[in-house]
């Protein structure tokens, strides 16, 4: 079973997403903000991280930078699930090696789940089509 960690400070979204993913056969861990998220990522080394950007204590970008620094976790795939979407930010995220970036208001939970499925389907070298390109 694939393990997914959701790092998201907004309750509703976090809980809904967790529920959805678990219903679709994923093992889900949650973190309420960046610091906790980073810790759990280091501890558990998940198969995928769904990461928000705007969070208290430590934001998503800092988390990504920290992940990059740590060899043991540097190649864990990350998908940004955020509400901002400024090109500047997206570029920055891409430079840090994220797999994808979705804007929460443009996708409902089911779509997010489908996206996660698709991701794992293509993990083995198949071409991954970015969600926003669809």
């Amino acid at each position: 079973m694939k393990r997914v960690i959701i790092v998201e400070d907004e309750d509703i979204l976090r809980d809904l997403l967790k529920r959805k993913l678990e219903n679709n056969g994923y093992e889900v861990e949650i973190a309420l903000e960046g610091e906790e998220g980073l810790r759990k990522i280091k501890e558990q080394k998940p198969d995928l991280v769904l990461l928000d950007i705007v969070m208290p204590k430590m934001d998503g970008f800092t988390v990504m930078e920290e992940i990059r620094k740590d060899e043991e976790i540097s190649d864990i795939p990350i998908i940004i699930v955020s509400n901002s979407g400024q090109p500047v930010e997206i570029d920055r995220a891409q430079d840090l090696g994220v797999k994808d970036w979705i804007i929460k208001t443009n996708f409902d939970p089911m779509e997010v789940v489908e996206m996660v499925n698709r991701f794992f389907d293509t993990e083995d070298g198949k071409e991954y089509q970015r969600a926003e390109d669809k």
Partner: protein
């Protein structure tokens, strides 16, 4: 012999003698001029003095006569003596006829008259003697008369001759006079003509003088005007100079020869130089002046033939907008004006705005996402939740409303980014068929589920690719379809793709049979937040931003956007995009 004659004559002479002491003096002075031949003889019998006539009658010179014994003059001395003796005894005048010797050789008879004269004491002072030619009186008279007659005759002859001459003269004179008159007339005519000419010339001269005066006045006026114009020009120059010097932007002017001819105080400040370091240098030289000029010249050097605008920055966080304008005067290029506008503050504001928008987006979207996912989950899993139909309807409506809110927030964010000029996108070679496919997938079923027809018109052959950002172009197509759906209650929606302008562009059209756009609303269609009046009352809504965003996207791709519509007749919205071969060099909207 005659004896005394008592005449007035005698009395007169006596008186004369008596009263005149110096007789001879008088004789000499006056009496000698009398036309009487007389003389005075002194008591000794010698001639004391005589008249001119006496001399001439006898033909003697005065020197010969004076002192001469009077007797020597007489021819017959005895007679003469007798005469003299009688004379000495008489008191009055005695006359006799005697012969005297005249010069030249000759003897002439004279009537001689004499009278003794006495001085105051009664002593004898000699005697006066006169001579008269014998019968000469009558002869004389006759002679005179003869002479007069002769003279008169002569005179008459002369008169005749004169008269003749006069007549001839008169004729001649008349003729001459006529000639002269004619000549005079001619001359007068000539003179008149000359006068006229002269008058004419005078008038001309006067006219010329007047014209010259007017010219002079005009010149003076002109001079005044020129002076005024010159003053105004000077004022303008001063004004311009004042403006240039106080202008808050940096101004540089490159002349025809690409030399830097002017740099204003603000310009000097921006580039941190003094005038003499840069004036009249050419671009290549200016590059060497300092780092800032290097940056400037690199930015503008190649572009100095046209109008352009660029941004550049110096190392120390100063952002400048450089605008270059070619200055022309009547078709001739005078030079290039470069304006340096400090936009550091604007950049800061832009940055702040971007940050704000980011934040706002996130903040707005977070609750919206929450609502979306919550309601969405219920709807998705309605079987699981098994709620009342009525409740589900309420939830579904809430979900739809929230979706609209999401769209609105997205639009607002897009607009903000467009306005900042930072609507960055990635143009790639795109096959329009892909865009069509995506659109079909999204909208075909939706359109048909609303009871409308759908048609696709696209040529069979492969169309050339377009240079486009797929995401953005899809946005535009979606916007067209959204509008078509919103405003069409019955009929059909048609998607048409064609190649236009000989393959230079592709044209994509979405047509509907909906409410259409009233003519007076048409020109505002692409304005921000504009919604036509005829749809505002419908049970639809829209942010009024869709077309505004679409227009910006298409124009940034170097294409054109437009529509055809009539109220109640439906609408056709289209856009064109340059194809890869010809229209490849689009300039992104920076």
């Amino acid at each position: 012999m005659n004896t005394e004659r008592e005449t007035s004559e005698e009395g007169g002479l006596e008186h004369f003698c008596a009263t005149n002491k110096n007789f001879c003096g008088h004789m000499r002075n006056t009496a000698c001029l009398l036309p009487i031949a007389f003389c005075k003889v002194d008591p000794s019998g010698r001639i004391e003095c005589c008249s001119k006539m006496f001399k001439e009658t006898l033909g003697y010179r005065e020197s010969e006569l004076l002192g001469l014994p009077i007797l020597s003059l007489f021819k017959k001395k005895r007679k003469a003596k007798e005469f003299l003796r009688v004379l000495s005894e008489s008191e009055g005048v005695i006359d006799d006829m005697l012969t005297l010797e005249t010069k030249p050789e000759g003897e002439v008879s004279f009537d001689v008259s004499a009278r003794s004269i006495y001085n105051e004491e009664g002593v004898s002072a000699g005697y006066l003697l006169t001579l008269k030619r014998k019968g000469s009186g009558d002869d004389f008279e006759r002679e005179v008369r003869k002479r007069v007659r002769e003279e008169t005759a002569e005179t008459e002859k002369e008169k005749e001759r004169v008269k003749e001459l006069e007549e001839v003269l008169e004729i001649r004179v008349n003729a001459r006079t006529r000639e002269l008159k004619e000549i005079a007339q001619l001359l007068e005519k000539k003179a008149r003509k000359r006068m006229e000419k002269l008058e004419e010339k005078t008038r001309e001269v006067e006219k010329k003088a007047k014209m010259e005066e007017e010219s002079r006045v005009a010149l003076l006026n002109l001079a005044e005007d020129l002076e005024e114009a010159s003053k105004k020009a000077e004022e303008e120059k001063d004004k311009t100079l004042a403006i240039v010097n106080n202008f808050t932007d940096g101004l540089l002017f490159f002349n025809r020869y690409k030399e830097l001819a002017l740099i204003n105080p603000q310009g000097k400040k921006i580039f941190n130089i003094e005038e003499d370091e840069v004036l009249y240098k050419k671009p290549s030289e200016l590059k060497e002046v300092n780092e800032r000029f290097t940056i400037l010249m690199n930015a503008i050097e190649g572009e100095m033939k046209k109008v352009f605008r660029k941004e550049m920055s110096f190392i120390d966080e100063v952002f400048l907008e450089v605008t270059s304008v070619v200055v022309e005067n009547e078709g001739k290029e005078m030079g290039v004006l470069v304006i340096i506008h400090d936009i550091t503050r604007e950049k800061k504001v832009e940055k702040l705005k971007t940050e704000f928008v980011s934040l706002a987006a996130h903040q707005l979207r977070t609750p919206l996402a929450g609502i979306k996912w919550s309601l969405g989950t219920i709807i998705e899993e309605k079987q699981v939740f098994n709620l009342d139909k009525e409740v589900m309807e309420i939830i579904e409506r809430a979900f739809e409303a929230n979706e609209r809110m999401v769209v609105l927030v997205n639009d607002l964010l897009n607009v903000t980014r467009i306005e900042e000029g930072k609507y960055v996108y990635e143009p790639k070679d795109v096959d329009v068929k892909e865009i069509v496919d995506i659109a079909l997938e999204e909208y075909k079923d939706l359109i048909e589920s609303r009871g409308l027809g759908f048609r696709l018109e696209m040529p069979e052959e492969t169309l050339p690719k377009i240079k486009a950002d797929m995401e953005e172009i899809s946005l535009v197509v979606n916007n067209f379809f959204d509008n078509a759906l919103k405003y069409t209650k019955e009929g059909e929606v048609v998607l048409k793709v064609e190649s236009v302008e000989c393959g230079k562009c592709l044209k994509v059209t979405v047509s509907d049979t909906g409410v259409g756009i009233p003519e007076e609303q048409q020109e505002s269609m692409f304005n921000k937040f504009f919604r036509a009046e005829n749809v505002q009352l419908m049970d639809t809504d829209g942010s009024g931003l869709g077309l505004f965003i679409s227009k910006n996207i298409i124009e940034a791709h170097g294409g054109e956007i437009g529509f055809e519509s009539g109220e109640g007749e439906g609408s056709s919205f289209f856009f064109t995009i340059p194809t890869v071969k010809e229209g490849a060099n689009i300039t992104p909207n920076e």
